[in-house]
């Protein structure tokens, strides 16, 4: 990778982080959405600790999926509206790298906060310590995959009527494998089983997404900007 590409990537990430820092409410919305959705489940299901402990992995993971989905619109929309995105795609650096930088910034502002707060929410559901560690680890491995896969959906629905609901329809089925193994890892860990296989598969999926998703996203952005 040439020096200019590294500089460009760094500039895109720094800019997106700066924008997020200036408009903190956007980041906090996703974060509190996650917390609220998780907190709603005990209210709907009842306070029995045994039931809650059993459903906790699924609840936290589904809430993480929904929170990732909620934040997708922010990934490209503002840049698309003010023309920044077009300039970024026109830059001499490969669009795939630019897209990857934007996805990284998105993960840092939305995925990472979820990872940090998740063990606390798991504690509310009375998950044992080892399961909490697995929850943290599984989210840490797989939230980048959520951002990567979500970026494809966000790029495909850019500037389209009803983009929010539509991207949910496109992206949620693609999230299924991540949900299965993410929640599976925590469940296995809570049951005293070895969760390494699940985590390895999560990592494999994150890597596959890392290979394919930036290309698909760049292609979709090019189509949207035509």
């Amino acid at each position: 990778m040439s020096q200019s590409a590294v500089t460009a990537c760094r500039a895109v990430i720094a800019r997106d982080l700066l924008v997020a820092a200036r408009r903190r409410s956007d980041v906090l919305t996703t974060f509190f959405f996650f917390v609220i959705v998780v907190s709603l489940f005990p209210l709907g299901i009842g306070p029995q600790p045994d039931t809650l402990r059993e459903i906790a992995p699924g609840v936290v993971w589904v809430a993480a999926l929904l929170a990732a989905l909620l934040s997708l619109a922010r990934m490209f929309d503002a840049d698309y509206a003010d023309g920044t995105l077009e300039q970024v795609m026109l830059a001499p650096q490969p669009p795939v790298l630019m897209v990857l930088s934007k996805i990284s910034a998105h993960w840092l502002t939305t995925g990472l906060p979820l990872v940090v707060i998740a063990p606390l929410l798991g504690l509310q559901f009375d998950l044992p310590g080892r399961a909490l560690a697995t929850l943290l680890l599984s989210l840490l491995i797989a939230t980048p995959a959520l951002s990567l896969i979500g970026a494809v959906g966000a790029a495909l629905t850019l500037g389209v009527r009803g983009a929010g609901g539509l991207s949910a329809l496109l992206v949620l089925p693609l999230y299924v494998p991540v949900l299965v193994f993410g929640a599976g890892a925590v469940t296995a860990s809570a049951a005293g089983l070895n969760e390494a296989a699940h985590l390895s598969l999560l990592a494999a999926m994150a890597l596959v997404a890392l290979v394919f998703a930036p290309w698909a996203t760049a292609a979709a952005l090019r189509i949207a900007l035509e």
Binding site: V152, L156, T157, V160, R161, G162, A163, L166, L169, L170, L172, P173, L174, V176, P177, V180, F181, G184, T187, A188, L201, M205, V208, F212, A216, A219, A220, I223, A224, E226
Partner: protein, 242 residues
């Protein structure tokens, strides 16, 4: 004669028009033959009684639902790479039939499940992945419908179809694993009763009937799609039937 001649909507439109009645006739004949075998020739299953007869609809529909997704992704990919309009139209034309087949497979599966397992729905690996396949079809159709510019709709939906095609096997295996990890399913769908050969023949006839129907329906839909997009062109104006 070059086959590429038919990659132009203008020359494909009349060809498709000629093929549609043939495939519909074939579908009707094969369907009648298959249903005859299904209801009058095939013996009653000693375990499931007559309820099993729904497989003559269920299995072909399930096969078609998966095959059509692959064909759709293939045409979408061709359309994206070679920028051929007809390929993208073909992909759009296949999607509703695929979604219909998925729905039929789920519906008949549910009807089959009620008498044999005593439940309309179980979270079996195959049922669940079929359900997710339906969601993928719906997402594709929704994306096509939401984008006004047809060329952008072609390309965007093609990217989605290809991403989905990569994901389908991953989803299938993850769901299968998910199913075996949770409580062992009390009812196994994979343990198929050893099938009498006449049942198999009946099912194959029905599969070909579904093939013929899907081809005919897709061709008919692609004709509409062609007219919708090319109605301003000189050749379309000269058509007698519009």
């Amino acid at each position: 004669m070059s086959w590429f001649r038919y990659s132009s909507p203008q020359s494909f439109y009349p060809l498709a028009g000629k093929m549609v009645p043939w495939f519909f006739t074939l579908a009707a004949l094969l369907g009648l033959a298959g249903l005859y075998i299904a209801f009058f020739v095939a013996p009653t299953d000693f375990q499931q009684g007559d309820a099993y007869r729904i497989i003559f609809i269920h299995v072909p529909a399930a096969w078609m639902s998966m095959l059509i997704y692959a064909v759709m992704a293939f045409w979408a990919g061709i359309g994206l790479v070679f920028n051929t309009r007809l390929s993208s139209m073909m992909a759009h034309a296949l999607a509703p039939t695929g979604a219909l087949m998925t729905l039929i497979a789920l519906w008949t599966g549910s009807f089959w499940g009620r008498p044999t397992w005593g439940a309309w729905w179980v979270w079996d690996a195959r049922l669940t992945s079929e359900l997710i396949l339906l969601f993928l079809y719906l997402g594709y159709l929704a994306l096509v419908a939401a984008i006004d510019d047809p060329r952008r709709a072609d390309k965007a939906s093609a990217v989605l179809a290809l991403v989905g095609a990569i994901n389908v096997p991953i989803i299938y295996f993850s769901v299968q694993w998910w199913n075996t990890l949770h409580q062992g399913s009390t009812i196994s769908m994979t343990r198929a009763p050893s099938m009498a050969s006449i049942m198999l023949i009946g099912m194959l006839v029905m599969v070909f009937a579904f093939w013929a129907y899907s081809i005919a329906a897709a061709l008919m839909r692609v004709r509409c799609e062609i007219l919708e997009r090319e109605h301003h062109s000189a050749w379309a104006r000269k058509l007698e039937d519009i």
